[in-house]
């Protein structure tokens, strides 16, 4: 008997439709969950208080809140592909808003200021990345420290909430283009960015590192370089989120970024990315961010006290983690069989 007819088959093949169905089945329930969360939450809000979804300016308000979380979650996803975590995003965002709220700028200097702020985020990411990849420290500890350091820098620049970000900044980022809120454009742009990025060598390498670092080393993945790149990108995205927040609120806060640490991890997990690396999608994280931010609206629609928001955000997170854990176990069982 020749090897061609024996067992070394890789799969059965089949027609494109079958293959598509198989791909959908393989991605599993977990991949569809973030969309389901958004549909269910959005539907519930729409049923209770339609104005929260289709009222004047409602879309703009919703998406303006989504933008910074989507940005941070995008970067966080890349880091989590490698089994890492970036807590420093909190400090980076705070420092970014503090800087923007204390440096009056206009025209060309404004763009210079924004460039400097974003570069600072990149530097923060570089520090994290080098510490994790080269000195091989725990990502959690490293970024906990840099969060604290950048939080301190933010306090140094802006001791309390306040200041005023350049009006030109708000003008540039708020409002609509072609009748569509700029916030929606930004989210669309991020989704498009992921569509382009997901087939790059970078993403393949990050997944490989998170999936099995030992083997990734054996096949020649440049582990240190890729890990540093992931953290740098996360820092850059966090700084961009800080720019958006400064524009949106018109002021700065030395603690503006702190809520984004946990909510970005929550958005990534809601999107179905495993905290054990290897799998996931930044687009799903953005959808996860939308789902996460629909909870406060649902609470408003239900006319409950606002503290219920965090309660239900936590409950949604537990539910999402449970679903992905069960899905992973089923997958492992299937994989082992």
């Amino acid at each position: 008997m020749s090897a061609t007819t024996a067992d070394p088959r890789i799969d059965g093949g089949g027609r494109p439709l079958q293959r598509l169905l198989r791909a959908a089945g393989r991605a599993g329930l977990a991949a569809w969950m973030p969309y389901l969360y958004v549909a269910v939450l959005g539907g519930a809000i729409w049923a209770l208080q339609p104005a929260l979804i289709d009222g004047p300016g409602a879309v703009d308000v919703r998406f303006s809140a989504v933008v910074p979380l989507a940005l941070v979650a995008f970067g966080q996803t890349l880091v989590m592909f490698t089994r890492g975590i970036d807590l420093a995003v909190g400090g980076v965002i705070s420092t970014a808003t503090a800087l923007l709220a204390t440096r009056g700028a206009d025209g060309a200097t404004l763009w210079l200021l924004i460039a400097a702020v974003v570069a600072l985020g990149g530097v923060a990411g570089l520090i994290n990345g080098v510490a994790v990849a080269v000195t091989r420290l725990q990502p959690f500890i490293v970024t906990l420290a840099t969060w604290s350091i950048f939080g301190g820098v933010a306090l140094l620049i802006l001791p309390q909430e306040g200041g005023a970000s350049p009006p030109a900044l708000s003008e540039a980022l708020l409002g609509s283009v072609l009748g569509v809120p700029k916030a929606v454009w930004v989210v669309a742009l991020l989704l498009a960015l992921w569509g382009w990025l997901r087939h790059t060598r970078l993403i393949t390498d990050l997944r490989a590192i998170g999936s099995d670092e030992q083997r990734a080393r054996l096949i020649g993945v440049p582990i240190a370089r890729r890990t540093i790149q992931a953290y740098v990108l996360s820092g850059l995205f966090a700084a961009l989120a800080g720019v958006w927040i400064a524009a949106q609120t018109g002021s700065g806060s030395p603690t503006a970024g702190d809520p984004f640490i946990l909510s970005s991890v929550a958005a990534v997990v809601l999107g179905g990315t495993s905290i054990f690396g290897g799998t996931g999608s930044a687009a799903a994280s953005i959808v996860g961010a939308i789902a996460f931010l629909l909870i406060p609206d649902l609470i408003a629609a239900l006319q409950l006290e606002s503290f219920w928001s965090t309660f239900f955000q936590g409950a949604l997170l537990i539910a999402a983690v449970t679903v992905s854990s069960i899905a992973a176990q089923l997958k492992r069982r299937r994989g082992a069989a």
């Binding site: 067992d7 070394p8 093949g13 087939h199 060598r201 970078l202 997944r207 099995d212 054996l218 290897g278």
Partner: protein, 501 residues
């Protein structure tokens, strides 16, 4: 000419000398066999050649030029292709991405064209006479044999000058082995140099032109395969005649007391229900190809895998849902991966031995140090564990001594069912002999002993009875004068039957 010449290569890990001056010379156009016991230094040699670790001393030359790869990439660029024993496929990446990692067909601005990638992967598989199918599947979903085949194809796609196959056949079916051998012969005929590492001496004999034998980190002999009969190879590998390692067999009488009985015991879907009686004094071995349900059998008995059916130990029926429950019921397991599953490497020898019996030597939750000392001293003496101070961390001991520490802990609990899962893997001959002797003693003392071994020779020489598993079913039960060939034939024979069906 692509001759590979290694001379006096040395490598130590901490205090353990894995290679103490190993030499090997493989010529272009030949398939060179490398044999040796587990722990003889073969894997370390592979790691050095493939750039995973660097040698402490000695020299490696390829084509007359010095070869000192500092990374796997450098080794690959230098023309070394390695089929790793543990495989180097990334579970979460697709078949195509794994096959063509680093040699993707179309990359623009860092972006890989998925269509071109999949087409190239299908093309590559076709070139190796393999059905392509869905190359977008993640490798995680493939069977072990499929992964092994993929690893081989992946390595050859890099067009290496030297092809290293480290236990590449361990998971393959006979047809796949034939496929691989044809590939390797073609590779050598085209001027390549293949280094073939296998525990299966029959494979070495049928594939290799010349062979080098390693023992305890150095080469101890070699030459043309025609001049080295199997008995001579084994003698070189072991450094002594075979018979003396194993204690005499002691098959149980037909009416000997049943100390443990499994009734329709299984772990669906990977292990079908089986019945088994372990009699007083009897050593029962489990064999078969890798991953045929052996891990599930031992896991189910020890409570780490959900089980069906029942276990009778003595007169009691057990239902163990966790290792803690299994331990309480008198079941002990010496696992395959002692570093990951059995020992706390940073703790001392003393703590590792007494850890399992703290309940017995404690009063009101406080460990009685005097009783602990006696327990540990007894174990260290009994098993001749070589350790300067019982407080030294276990991680610094040799593999054999680590295994002894683990055995001490397991035996300190006086188990009634002793499970050993490939307990002699990576252990030196001396320790193996100790372990075999202990297994016999335990069995003679009325403990039910069930062991799995990936080494058919060990099963044949040690066990009174051997169960050969295939695809979760007992394919054969051998007893009396068991030969290695019988076990291997049962392990692969079942497969062949099925493949034809």
């Amino acid at each position: 000419m692509r001759d590979l010449v290694l001379s006096d290569v040395q490598k130590s890990y901490g205090g353990t000398r894995a290679l103490r001056g190993a030499s090997l010379s493989a010529r272009s156009g030949e398939v060179h066999g490398l044999v040796g016991e587990n722990g003889a230094g073969k894997s370390t040699l592979v790691k050095i050649l493939s750039g995973a670790v660097r040698a402490d001393g000695g020299s490696v030359a390829l084509d007359g030029r010095a070869l000192r790869p500092r990374s796997p990439q450098e080794a690959r660029r230098a023309g070394i292709g390695t089929v790793f024993q543990e495989l180097s496929l990334i579970p979460d990446l697709s078949v195509a991405a794994n096959l063509l990692y680093g040699i993707e067909p179309r990359v623009r601005a860092g972006r890989i064209s998925t269509g071109a990638l999949h087409a190239a992967a299908r093309d590559a598989l076709a070139r190796f006479e393999l059905p392509a199918g869905d190359v977008s599947r993640p490798v995680r979903e493939l069977r072990l044999a499929e992964r092994q085949v993929l690893e081989i194809v992946k390595t050859l796609l890099h067009e290496p000058q030297v092809l290293i196959l480290d236990e590449a056949t361990s998971a393959l079916l006979p047809e796949q082995v034939a496929w691989l051998f044809a590939l390797v012969r073609r590779f050598a005929a085209a001027g390549g140099c293949a280094l073939f590492i296998s525990h299966r001496l029959a494979e070495i004999e049928s594939l290799c032109d010349r062979v080098t034998v390693f023992r305890a980190g150095a080469d101890v002999g070699g030459g043309a395969i025609g001049e080295l009969p199997e008995a001579r190879l084994v003698e070189l590998m072991l450094g002594r005649a075979v018979e003396r390692i194993y204690p005499p067999k002691a098959p149980a009488a037909r009416d000997a007391e049943v100390v443990c009985e499994l009734r329709s015991f299984g772990a669906p879907p990977r292990l079908q229900p089986l019945d088994l009686k372990l009699r007083h004094g009897e050593l029962v071995g489990v064999g078969g190809l890798d991953g045929q349900g052996q891990a599930e059998l031992f896991g189910a008995l020890f409570g780490t895998v959900p089980a069906a059916g029942s276990v009778l130990l003595g007169a009691r029926e057990l239902r163990c849902a966790s290792p803690a429950a299994a331990l309480d019921a008198g079941i002990a397991l010496v696992p395959e991966d002692r570093a990951a599953e059995g020992l706390c490497l940073t703790l001392g020898v003393r703590d590792n031995i007494s850890l399992g019996s703290l309940g017995g030597i404690s009063r009101l939750g406080v460990v009685d140090r005097a009783r602990e000392r006696r327990l540990v001293a007894g174990a260290v003496g009994e098993l001749q564990i070589k350790v300067a101070d019982v407080r030294d961390p276990v991680g610094g001991l040799s593999g054999g001594n680590q295994q002894k520490v683990l055995l001490s802990r397991v035996l300190a609990r006086s188990p009634r069912l002793l499970l050993l899962y490939d307990a002699t893997r990576g252990v030196d001959v001396g320790t193996k002999t100790e372990i075999y002797r202990l297994m016999r003693e335990q069995a003679a003392a009325g403990v039910a002993v069930l062991f799995y071994s990936s080494d058919a020779a060990e099963l044949a020489a040690l066990a009174d009875r051997v169960l050969v598993l295939h695809d979760g079913v007992v394919r054969a039960q051998l007893s009396g004068e068991i030969s290695e060939e019988e076990i291997v034939a049962a392990a692969v024979g079942g497969r062949r039957k099925e493949a034809h069906a």
